[in-house]
Each structure stands twice: as C-alpha cells, then as structure tokens.
Symmetry: C2
Subunit: 318 residues, 2 copies
C-alpha cells in the first residue's frame, strides 16, 4: 500500500462493527491527497472514503473541518459528509491516527479545465462563501503571512539550489507582504480550491472536496488562490479569458467590494508565494513514505513573477 | 498521483471514445500492485481497472496474460476480464505504456487469512490448475532457477548488509537447486497467489487477480508458493493446521502424484528463495517513484530456514 498508514481489511472489519453502513464489497488504498492516507470503501449501501489524518492535519482541527462539511451540506453544497458511528461520533482513532469515514462523491477532477469549467468553479466558490456565512466555529489561517515567514526561513539556505535567485525573490516578496490587507470581507474560505478539489460530472460541478486547509480569511484571497490554480497555462502564461470567466461567474453570486478588487494583485502575489513556499519546502524535504511526488515549485515562481508586474485587478479580467 | 505513469481525466476521456463502456463517474489512481500503474474507473455501467504495464511486465507477454484471463473466465474462474475496444483489441498503448482496461472485481483481500480461508484458497488453486489445462499459448517461468541465479548475482555484494550470513544462505540454497525437479505434472500456474491476489466476499473466494507472473510450470510449485504465502504466522512459525486445510481442499479437486508430494520440500525451499531474492533485490534497489514500499526480505529468510529443516511433505500437512 502506498499510503502513510496502512489499514488492513481486518482493521476495517473491526471498525465497521461501530458503523451502520452495510457490508464491505471492496476496499482499496487510493493514490490521492498529499496530506492523508485515503481508502476507498464500497459497501452494499454505497461508497465511502476512509481518511487517516497525518502530520499536517491536527486532530484539534478535525471538529472544525468535519463540522464545516456537515454545515455546508445543509446549505446545499455537495461535499463529503462525515458518517457518524453508533456512538454518534464523526471521528475516531484508527491505527494510532485520527480518522473519519466520509461519503464518496462521484465526479472527476480535471487536469486542464477550460473556460466553461472556470466559470463553474468560480460560481462554486461564491456559493461556498455564502454557505459558510453562518458557520459558528472559526479557524485561523495557519498558512498566511506568519506561516510564510517560517517557511521562508526553513527553505532560505537551499532555495537557490532549486532556481538561481529564488531566495532573493522570496525575501523581496515577503517584505512586500507587510502591506498585506487585513480588513477585507472575510468568512469561511476553502483556501485550496485547485482543479484537484473540484469534481465534475458531465461538465457540471458535482462536488467540492478536501477541506483540510479551510479557515477564516478574506474571501478575495480565496479568489486569488483560484486565479493562480485555474487560469494559468502550462507554459506559465496567464489566460485572461479564463480569469474573466471565473470572476464574472463568481460575481453573479457574490459581488466583491472595491477594496477587494484593489487588493487582488497583492492577494494573488501572496497566494503564489504560499504555494511556492509549501512546494519548495516539500521539494527540499521529500517524504520517502509519501505516495505523491513533490510538485515542482518553479510553476509558482513563474506565477509570482507575473503577479509582480500586475498593477490592477483589470489585468486579471475583473 | 502515486502511480508510475500518470493518466489525467482528459487522457481517459480520449481513451473512452474507443470503448463502449458508458460515461465516467469517477476515476482514481489506486495504491496497488508493485509492478504496474492502476486506476479505478467507475462508469454508469460498471467498475473497471485501467492498468499501465511498467518495467517488469513485457508488452510481448500481454497477449498471454490477457488471453489467459479470458480463457479462465470461460472455464468458470472469476478473474478480471480485458475489455475489447471498438477495434476489437484487448490492449492498447497509453502515455507510452502498454495498457489494458479490465473489469473490476468486488471482494477484499485479507491480511490475516484463517484456516477456512486457506481451504478456500487451496480449492481455488486446484480449480485454476484444471481450468488452464486447455489454454494453448505458453510462457516460460522467467523467475525459476536461472532467474534466481541472476538475482543472486545482482544482490550478492550487499546481501549481508540486510542480514549477516544472507549471501552464504542464498549461495548454499541455490547450489541445492541443481536438484530442482523438472519432470513434474505441469501446466498453467498463477505463480503469485498470495492473499493479496485472492478476493473474498462474505468469507468465500469471489475472484483471483494479478496474473502477471502466470506461466507454464509445475502445479506443485504453485502449491509450494501458497504454503509460503498463506501458512506462516507473523512470527515466522509454520502453521500446519493452515497447511493441512489448504492442501486437503486442493486435493478435493486435484490429487497430486507421489512424485509431487516427494518434491514438495525442495519446491517450498525454491519458492521461499524466489520471494527472498526478488524482495532482496527491491530492498537493495528501491524505486523512488514506486508507490509501494519494498517488503522486508527477512520474512522469507525465516521461511527458507524452516524449509531447510523439512524432510518430507508430511511436515507441511500433506
């Protein structure tokens, strides 16, 4: 098995005595998720994902993540639903790890979303922002400016081995983050709504997954993350048609303020820096037990350089 | 994705235009199989496995493996069935690799099979041996004595870094293989029927998988492999109750000859050597792209030492 923590069928059988979800039909480790160990379980009643939370997901945050998924579903968002066991708990401990059993969502994630998919995803983000409005628990974004400073420190010595001048680019960008906006309209954000995490069925969004970076932060920062993740071409060029498509679909469900529009360039720069830094850290510190190869941080160097030349939000298509 | 060769949904969509199997509902890389890249595909018509064949599986052998699975199904063996595309082909090339789309089998593989499971598995092996009888194509066992000699040479220099005295144990055992029997009743064997490759549903065998070591060789060698794989406890002790259970279930469907019974000790020793050597090689040459951690070769050192003290087949429960 290529998962961090192994779960045998015998472990599963024991676990299932605590749940009312039918008899197992198949059970397989799946090659998905950088952070966790995931297993696909099919029973005679339906499909489930068993997730064991590893290193980056803190057990203390689980009630927030699982509670959020339950809340969002009651507000019409299609996302995995934690299954409660006979004792009423939506999380357990399995093989020494915090774990949860979640409903499996049909749909596929796209490697090369087109302009229409970007619109669908922008709409989904706006609806997510609205649906989170009355969710009471809160979680600080641990991967905002303070977190970036730590990652920059941890990667400074070796950054230039990945690309000449990278340490200096990170340092300069980080210094600019002193102007990071802190009074923008905020609420629950997904914070990682990459194409990997949006499922499509027949060209329509059929679900959002992987809420394990969700937190309270600026809505416009979530938009900035999506512009980075959905609107650049493989050669590193920004595709303004995709940007316009994503942004105008978002605006049909939630209209940004002028302040948010003005902040978009720095937010996009910060978002590129965030993914550059986590990818750089994982690149320099590969986990031999990981089943996912580290992603090339240089994709985000290109994006960051693009954002550093952007003067206003119209260049993104807003 | 933690598979050797990645397949995007877009790659899959293009591929599916060549097949008549319905619309995709989900598509995920699965953490399974040491040798290949595997993806689970669910369409509105059923479940499938897309396999891309890597290094150890030669494209030249694919017609044998796929043809065998088709043949066995016509003889009542539940095993994955290659799906033919609109052009009538059961294998294709995808992302530079030979590939095949196979039907997905329900069932789970057990980590700790009990005595009854051993009986089920022994029965399945005997039925497999009978079902292969009239399969015309043939494939030499590339992992028999000649293959072991090559692996022993490739691992000799570093074997003792894994366990003191290992190089010498391998050399001595290999010398004994000069007495390897070559005139035993032969036919199609699975050659890798570990608990991983036997699926159970509700305590009954629901399918056999992973035929990529299948070849023409002695039936009793296949039995010897199963005694190694099913009848030892985690502490290294041989469980003769499991051995008796597996062997007597086998005998209900195919009675071994006296010659086969007499050969069992050397066959079991050879089988332990075969898995010791391939595990040792993978342990000494880990593939950083592999999603499966190398298995500890020392489990098979224990088995081999046990077999070296066995004087006749009754010690296995025959």
């Amino acid at each position: 098995m290529a998962v961090y923590t192994d779960v045998s069928f015998e472990d599963l059988e024991k676990l299932l005595t605590e749940y009312d979800i039918g008899s197992p039909r198949s059970f397989k480790g799946i090659a998905e998720g950088v952070e966790n160990s995931n297993f696909h379980l099919q029973t005679d009643r339906g499909g489930y994902i068993l997730t064991l939370y590893e290193k980056r997901v803190s057990a203390d945050d689980l009630p927030f993540f699982l509670g959020l998924m339950e809340h969002l579903a009651t507000r019409g968002i299609d996302c995995p639903q934690p299954v409660r066991n006979r004792a009423g708990k939506n999380s357990i401990v399995l093989n020494g790890r915090p774990a949860a059993l979640l409903t499996f969502l049909d749909g596929v994630s796209l490697r090369k979303p087109d302009v229409m998919h970007c619109a669908q995803a922008g709409e989904a983000l706006a609806k997510l922002h609205a649906a989170g409005a009355d969710f009471k628990p809160a979680r600080r974004n641990s991967l905002s400016v303070t977190g970036w400073k730590k990652l920059a420190g941890d990667t400074r010595a070796d950054a230039d081995t990945v690309q000449a001048g990278l340490a200096s680019l990170i340092e300069t960008t980080l210094a600019e983050m002193d102007a990071w906006p802190t009074a923008l309209p905020s609420g629950i954000i997904h914070a990682d709504l990459f194409p990997d995490n949006v499922l499509f069925t027949d060209g329509k969004v059929s679900g959002l997954i992987d809420f394990y970076f969700a937190c309270n932060d600026a809505f416009a920062y979530d938009i900035a993350i999506m512009l980075n993740a959905w609107c650049f071409e493989p050669d590193g060029a920004y595709n303004i048609t995709k940007g316009k498509s994503l942004l105008s679909a978002y605006r049909q469900y939630r209209e940004p303020t002028l302040q948010e529009a003005e902040a978009l360039p720095i937010l996009a720069r910060g978002a590129a820096l965030r993914f550059l830094l986590t990818r750089l850290f994982d690149w320099l510190n590969p986990d031999p037990a990981a089943l996912v190869r580290p992603k090339d941080p240089r994709d985000y160097v290109k994006r960051l350089r693009f954002h550093r030349n952007v003067r206003n939000a119209s260049e993104y298509g807003l």
